[in-house]
């Protein structure tokens, strides 16, 4: 099962922990908001992705099933 990362842009308050914890897939734009890579999460860093999602203070980072893609 593959995983993808999505951000809920409404809940995101630019804390930036996700970019610190998953720099392989998340960069910050000039205003501190995450730019998330769209490819599936490589298996070896799925754990880091989950940790980043757990660390998000507003629970805006989502790790989801890549085989059932949701809108946006």
């Amino acid at each position: 099962m593959s995983h993808v990362i999505r951000v809920n842009p409404i809940d995101c308050r630019a804390h930036g922990m996700c970019a610190e914890l998953l720099p392989e897939m998340i960069q910050l734009d000039p205003w501190g908001y995450p730019i998330v890579a769209e490819h599936p999460v490589p298996e070896d860093i799925v754990g880091h992705a989950r940790r980043a999602a757990s660390a998000c203070p507003t629970l805006a980072l989502l790790v989801e099933d890549g085989d059932r893609p949701r809108r946006r």
Binding site: P9, I10, D29, P30, W31, R72
Partner: protein
């Protein structure tokens, strides 16, 4: 009894449609009888069309809509029958129907035209849709700009209630007049007591008003539904293209001799549509296809593109809600686009950082390129800002702006280079062409 005289603030609309349906073109359809003085009267409507057939079997109705090939007329062009079926088959109790008459696009007037000239056709469509999906609640959403308009519509609903036409009492809701308020999820959120701004989460057909599966359709789509239910799918398909059947309303403005709303068969070329609107008033340079979420096409290219979703997409533009704006040669594409982007930057819902910060930054970069220019790095700056906003919000607002900005740079690459290297062109000296609402009319979305 409601009549046309009681409709306040009706904008003048050119009376061009023939008095009767022409057997040759089989047009007009939605606008058949719309120019008569009593078109908004319930009696006249019932005389002409009869009551809406709300007693046909639900699945038979949806089948007919499916065979007709009707697609959404609000911009996305989604197959209507599929939407109906999804909500009807959700199996979670009574559903809700929401009719989108908000018409957030400044350059579009077709929904307003329908609601003022043939409101009962729209209301028929709402009733039939409610029947088709098993709804126990139906709401027509309009914007607050005109205080008497909603009351007048409620009067129309009253007349129908007195005649016992509708299975469900249709409510009329007034929402703030903002661009993002016309988004599907904004309507649902507002009806649930929240602000009229989009959400990020389940789509309305999964969890809509009150958590129930909700059908959201544009008022024009519902008007077509009302006709298909009476006259069948063959009738609907008798005009238009095989892959894009039926007729559609298009709002044509800009440098044409007779701007206004026209009903055209789908698949009509942009050029033919512009000719219907009296032809270009000045030699056209470009056509904005699809409104402010669409794209620019050079006039020679646009002229032959059929007005269907597929053909427009292949040409690099969009059909959207059928908006065409002709830009004359004397105008500047970049300048006009910069104005629109600045407007869009002020119209964010204020919820998503990338949009709230990124759109003003894009507007500034684009304005710099269009109005100042000459520094040689303007295009690069703009492209960078476009990439920072594209697909980074909760709704399609930033995406639409990104598409518009890209199309200006790609389609008029030479103009962009000239601006970047030498500075603004003469086109900026003439008055602007693209319509935008004045600042004073813009409301707070959070009321």
């Amino acid at each position: 009894m409601t009549s046309l005289e009681s409709v306040p603030n009706l904008e003048p609309v050119p009376r061009l449609a023939p008095a009767r349906v022409s057997p040759a073109t089989r047009m007009p359809r939605l606008l058949d009888g719309a120019w008569s003085e009593w078109s908004a009267h319930l009696d006249a409507h019932l005389d002409r069309h009869g009551p809406p057939p709300v007693h046909v079997r639900r699945d038979a109705l949806i089948d007919t809509v499916e065979r007709s090939g009707l697609t959404g007329r609000g911009g996305a062009g989604f197959p209507t029958a599929r939407k109906l079926r999804t909500v009807a088959d959700s199996g979670r109790g009574a559903t809700v129907v929401v009719a989108n008459g908000m018409e957030g696009e400044p350059a579009s007037s077709k929904d307003r035209l329908l609601l003022t000239r043939v409101p009962h056709l729209v209301l028929d469509g709402i009733s039939l849709a409610a029947h088709a999906v098993g709804a126990d609640r139906a709401v027509l959403c309009v914007h607050r700009g005109d205080p008497d308009f909603a009351d007048w519509l409620r009067g129309c609903v009253e007349d129908r209630a007195a005649a016992g036409i509708d299975p469900v009492r249709i409510e009329v809701a007034e929402l703030p007049r903002r661009y993002v308020a016309s988004e599907q999820s904004s309507l649902v959120r507002f009806l649930d007591g929240g602000p009229a701004v989009p959400t990020f989460g389940p789509r309305p057909h999964e969890r809509g008003v009150g958590g129930r599966p909700t059908l959201v359709n544009n008022v024009e789509t519902l008007a077509h539904l009302a006709q298909i239910a009476r006259r069948g799918d063959h009738w609907f398909r008798a005009v238009g293209a095989a892959h894009a059947p039926g007729s559609m309303l298009t709002t044509i403005s800009g440098a044409v001799n007779r701007p206004g709303v026209y009903e055209v068969p789908m698949g009509l070329s942009v050029g033919e549509a512009l000719l219907l609107a009296g032809g270009p008033a000045e030699r056209p340079k470009a056509v904005l296809c699809g409104g402010y979420f669409g794209a620019w096409l050079p006039a020679e290219v646009a002229w032959n593109v059929p007005m269907t979703h597929g053909d427009m997409r292949r040409a690099g533009a969009a059909l959207g809600a059928g908006i065409l704006i002709a830009l004359p040669e004397s105008a500047c594409v970049l300048g006009e686009t910069a104005r629109v982007i600045r407007y869009m930057a002020q119209e964010t819902a204020g919820q998503c950082g990338p949009c709230v910060f990124g759109l003003p930054a894009l507007a500034e970069a684009f304005s710099e390129l269009a109005f100042t220019g000459g520094r040689g790095r303007g295009i690069q700056q703009v492209r960078r800002q476009i990439d920072l906003v594209d697909r980074r919000g909760a709704c399609r607002h930033p995406d639409g702006v990104a598409a518009l900005a890209r199309s200006a740079l790609d389609t008029f690459a030479d103009d962009a280079l000239d601006h970047d290297r030498q500075g603004p062109c003469a086109g900026l000296r003439r008055p602007p062409v693209l319509p935008l609402p004045p600042r004073s009319e813009r409301e707070e979305v959070r009321k």
